[in-house]
Subunit: 312 residues, 2 copies
C-alpha cells in the first residue's frame, strides 16, 4: 500500500505525518516553525522533520516516496513556490518550497507538491472528514483569521493567482462601529474577518465596554457564560457576522456540504447557535436544508489534505 507524507506548515508550528492511501495518519511529529529566520532555515528544519519521519517509516518497513505540503501564505501550486506571505513568517515570500524540500530530501522534483494550508485543510475535511462523500464542500475556518476553501469534485478551487478562498475579506454589515468600517488586517476595512475572527471578538468586547484587562478571546467566552453583557454582545456580533457571511457564500456557491472549522467552531453553542441561525436566515429557499457540520479531523486535517495532493 502506498504511503506519503503530509506537512502542515503554519505560522507558529509545523506538523507532519505519514499518511496511508486511505487517509489514516500512522504517526506524526511537530516542530516550531522558525518564523523569524527566513525561508532557508524553515526549509532545512522541515526537511529534517520529514527525514525523521522517513527513517521511522523505513524502520517499520513502510516505503514513502512523496510529500504534500499545506503552507501558510499564497502558494503557487503549479510551481510549489511561496508567492506572498504575511509577517507571521518573515522571509517566506519567494521561497521555492516544493523544489527546496525535494532537493534537501534527495527526492525527484515532482514528488513534492504544495498548496496553501487552508486549501489543504479543506481538502482533508472533504476527503476524509466532515464532508467525506460530498461532491462539493465549502470549508470556512473561524479562528485567528477567517479563511476558507471551496472543494469541487475533489480539488480545492485555488484561484487563478492562487489567492482564492479569502472568504474573510468581503464586506460585512456587522463590521462597522458608529458608522465607521472597522480596520481589517488585510489593509482594507469593514470585512468579515474584522468582526468575526477570534481576536476581533476580543476587540469588540473592549469596544462594547468590557475591561481591557481581560486577556484574550477565551476569557471573553468564559465571561459570557457568566452573563457578562459586553462579552455576550461581542460573541453575538462575531457569530452573527460569521453566519451571515457563510449564508451568502452558500447562495453564491451552493456546495453540497458546509464545514465550519477553527477555534470558534470548537467554542460550543454560545458561538455555534447564533452563527447557524444567522446563516440559515440568509439562505435562498432551495438551500434551506444544507448540512452545516463541524470539522471532524481536528489538527490532522491539513496533514491529510496535503497528503491527498500526492496520493492521486
Amino acid at each position: 500500500m502506498m504511503h506519503v507524507i503530509g506537512v502542515d506548515l503554519g505560522g507558529t508550528k509545523t506538523a507532519a505525518g505519514v499518511v496511508a492511501a486511505d487517509g489514516s495518519v500512522l504517526f506524526s511529529e511537530q516542530i516550531p516553525t522558525l518564523n523569524r529566520e527566513g525561508g532557508n532555515a524553515i526549509l532545512g528544519a522541515t526537511a529534517a522533520l520529514v527525514a525523521r519521519l522517513l527513517r521511522r517509516a523505513a524502520g517499520e518497513g513502510i516505503a514513502v516516496g512523496r510529500v504534500g505540503v499545506g503552507s501558510a501564505g499564497v502558494i503557487d501550486a503549479a510551481s510549489g513556490t511561496v508567492v506572498s506571505a504575511t509577517d507571521s513568517i518573515l522571509g517566506w515570500a519567494g521561497t521555492g518550497l516544493a523544489a527546496g524540500l525535494a532537493e534537501r530530501l534527495g527526492f525527484p522534483r515532482d514528488s513534492v507538491r504544495a498548496v496553501n494550508d487552508v486549501h489543504a485543510h479543506a481538502l482533508g475535511e472533504a476527503w476524509r472528514g466532515a464532508a467525506a462523500g460530498s461532491s462539493s464542500s465549502l470549508m470556512v475556518a473561524f479562528g485567528t483569521g477567517v479563511g476558507g476553501s471551496f472543494v469541487l469534485d475533489g480539488s480545492p478551487v485555488l484561484g487563478h493567482r492562487y489567492v482564492g478562498g479569502h472568504v474573510g475579506h468581503f464586506a460585512s454589515p456587522y463590521a462597522y462601529h458608529e458608522g465607521k468600517a472597522l480596520p481589517c488586517v488585510c489593509g482594507g476595512s469593514g470585512h468579515v474577518e474584522a468582526i468575526a475572527s477570534g481576536p476581533a471578538i476580543h476587540e469588540s468586547f473592549v469596544r462594547f465596554g468590557g475591561s481591557p484587562d481581560v486577556p484574550d478571546t477565551r476569557a471573553v467566552f468564559a465571561l459570557a457564560l457568566h452573563g457578562d453583557a459586553a462579552a455576550i454582545k461581542a460573541i453575538g456580533a462575531g457569530a452573527g457576522a460569521a453566519g451571515q457571511a457563510l449564508g451568502g457564500l452558500v447562495n453564491i456557491l451552493d456546495p453540497e456540504t458546509v464545514v465550519v472549522s477553527g477555534g470558534l467552531a470548537d467554542a460550543g453553542d454560545l458561538w455555534w447557535k447564533p452563527m447557524e441561525r444567522a446563516m440559515r436566515k440568509e439562505l435562498m429557499g432551495p438551500l434551506a436544508d444544507i448540512p452545516v457540520l463541524r470539522a471532524a479531523l481536528g489538527n490532522t486535517a491539513a496533514i491529510v489534505g496535503a497528503a491527498k495532493l500526492v496520493l492521486n
Copy 2:
C-alpha cells in the same frame, strides 16, 4: 462544420439562433415568452421557434442536430428540468424543459441540454466574449436583478442544487436605511440586489427625496447627468454596493477575468467609474490588477453560451 441551436428563454422574451462551431450566430429569431400560460404553452412556442430556425437552416443546406437552452429559473442541468422559478414565468417550475423540447422536435432526448440563463450568459462571454481566452472568469450582471456565474475551465459552476451564482443575495453594508435592512425580492433583506439592481436604484432615488413621479431607473440616470442630488446619491449607492460586492467575490474566487454585464454596465461612466473604484478598494494585494471588462456579446451571450453546452 457542426451547427447547433442556442435558446435564451427569459421572463419576457425567448430568443434562439443557429450557432456555428466557432460561436458565430448565423441568424436568430425572437418571440414573447408566454409567461402567463404555463410550461406546456412555453414548450410548444419554443419548439415552434426552434423548428422555424431548423427549416431556415435546412433551406441553406445547414444540418442542425442539437439544442442548448439557457432558461430563467433554477434548472437541473443533469435532467434538464425546471427545479423552481419566480412568478415572472407562471407554471414554469416542474417543467421537463429538455425532454419536452426534444419530444416536440422529434430529437433524441440527449440532444437537448439546459442550464440557467445566467450561467449560459456567462459561458457565452467566457467562450467567445469579453473573457475569451481566460481559464476562469466571473460574470456578474447588474440589471433588473443581480446574478452571476463563475466559469472555471470552460464550465459554469452550477452548484450542487443548481442554485449557484446567486451573487445578488449576500449581505451588503449599503443595503441599509436608517439602520434597517432593505427588503430583497428573494424574501431576505440587506442583500446586494436590494440596493444595486436597476429597480433598487429607482427606489433609493425616491427614498433619498427624489420625486416618485420619475418613472424609472433610466430617468434617474438622466436626472443625475443634470446634477440632481438624489439621483447622484442613488446611483452612487448602487454602484458602490455593486463594486464592493464584486471586489469581495474576487477575493473569494480569484477569477482570471471579471466581466460585468446587464443594463447598468451599459449605463456609462456615471455607474461604471464608482463601481470600479469601490471594487478595487476591496481587493487583496495580489488581485489589484485584475481585468474588469464590460460584457461584449450583448443580447446574444446566452444564445452562444447555450449553444456551447451542446457543441462539446
